[in-house]
């Protein structure tokens, strides 16, 4: 097994004045190229902190992140992030938002015309080419997240990091976008790491589900393989025994063994 992305003994301790909180403890994980891995856990378990460490937006207190055997500790387009609340720049059009990353990443390798074509290609991938000249305030939440995905994809990341990408969307839009992401993963073969708190979403999309224990000092409690063949169809899976068994396992982990304690 070749480790494409490797999380090596990551600890994260926040210090505020004299008080220290250990958020993450001894996180070890290896992800293969082309794999779709979800990290699931209750809110406050530090899963977003973990994603920020991988993205380089926060640094680990000890341990590190290795991408293709090289340590990464600052943010970069090789680990593009799709943020929870889309984070499109409101003063730029859809096209310009995607172009911002493209211009930077391909400044030397692509000509102006090629970059333009590449932006449009990525907008086409998420079916947003029609809105190229609209501003984020003029499109719906689901469309914004599509553009967010296009922006990340357009940077040709080695690992695509999704930070609860569908969390802010209504159920129907969410299902639609999940299907889109699945189709993109099938087509492009990206390595994807997704943070989620939705069990169905995790089982439907992932090859492996990483379940985290509750914080403080959250660890990886269990890693579940999802042996479902791709392409997966939402409707067929609803009655699939393997799907239901996986779903059951995750639910048991979250609600029996690591029940979220409000007071903790």
């Amino acid at each position: 097994m070749t480790a494409y992305l490797k999380l090596d003994h990551i600890d994260k301790i926040f210090t505020r004045g004299a008080a220290t909180t250990e958020v993450l403890k001894d996180i070890n994980l290896t992800i293969e190229k082309g794999e779709y891995v979800s990290i699931i856990g209750h809110s406050g378990c530090g899963k977003s902190t973990l994603l920020n460490i991988i993205a380089g937006l926060t640094t680990a207190t000890t341990g590190g992140v290795l991408l293709e055997n090289r340590e990464v500790n600052s943010p970069g387009p090789d680990r593009a992030v799709v943020f929870q609340n889309h984070s499109l720049l409101p003063w730029l059009t859809v096209y310009e938002n995607v172009k911002l990353g493209v211009d930077k990443v391909f400044a030397k390798t692509k000509t102006r015309a090629e970059r333009d074509a590449w932006v449009m290609h990525n907008l086409n991938l998420v079916q947003m080419a029609h809105a190229r000249d609209k501003r984020p305030s003029e499109i719906s939440g689901g469309m914004k997240q599509r553009v967010g995905i296009a922006r990340a994809l357009a940077m040709e990341p080695k690992v695509l990091l999704l930070d609860e990408p569908f969390g802010a969307l209504d159920a129907l839009t969410r299902a639609h976008l999940q299907d889109s992401v699945m189709a993109l993963h099938q087509k492009l073969g990206n390595t994807i790491l997704m943070i989620t708190h939705d069990v169905d979403e995790a089982v439907l999309l992932s090859d492996r589900i990483v379940m985290m224990t509750n914080g403080p000092s959250a660890r990886i409690g269990e890693v579940l393989e999802v042996p479902l063949a791709r392409p997966r169809k939402r409707l067929e899976l609803a009655t699939n025994a393997t799907y239901l068994k996986c779903r059951q396992r995750v639910l048991e982990f979250l609600y029996e063994r690591h029940r979220f304690v409000e007071a903790a």
Partner: protein, 298 residues
Amino acid sequence: MNMPATKIEVETAAPASIAAPVVAMTPKRPPRAETYARIARETAVRVIPPLVVIALLLLVWELVCRRAGSALPPPSKVFKDTKELIFDPFFDHGGIDKGLFWHLSASLQRVALGYSLSAIAGIALGVLVGQSVWAMRGLDPLFQVLRTIPPLAWLPLSLAAFRDGQPSAIFVIFITSIWPIIINTAVGIRNIPQDYRNVAAVVQLNPLEFFAKIMIPAAAPYIFTGLRIGIGLSWLAIIAAEMLIGGVGIGFFIWDAWNSSHISEIILALFYVGIVGFVLDRVIAGLGKIVTRGTAQG
């Protein structure tokens, strides 16, 4: 229990609706006269109330000041005295004996120069203070004290430094209008959402690109608030400064009129000062609206 089953009417109704003939709906356009009448009504609603108030004020003023021995002239006398100035703002008899256009334009040129300098320096300092905690700790107390110094208090010092009226007046405008620009810019920079900073970090924008592509657009609404307060203060400061430094300019025109007891001219000049100040404010506000278009969170 033995109720007769009611026949549901839907079945018969549905085909009827399908078969309903398509009626071409021609959009009804209101007659042109009606549109004009509507526009006229809307304009009247906005324009008439202020006109009524102005007319009433003029009437009261006229009644109060027309008595013999009143200190201030009534509006009718103001108009009679200043007719020449109103109808010929472009005359130039050399020296400071010029039409009001030239006085106003001299004042506006000083404001343009002083205000441009303060906008550039103010935004630069605001970005510094907003971005760096240490710069804020070091500079903020200084700013808070300096900004309370009234414009005219700077004038003697700047006259001493520059030994000339023109640069001193420009300096006074600069130093008066810079504080709200600095402070508002700094607040705008500090309020840039972390999300935008994260995006910039992932895309790896360099500091210059970050400044141009993220900072300035994100802080633009705040910056324009500062610029708008700044232009108002500049206009306040220039009138006062010109009274003291002399030469061509609307401020000195007022002072000169006072010295020659031309009270009507003072009143006319005040009217112009008010209008110009209002226009300056609107120009900056309008500019802000254009520049910050689409910055609204969505």
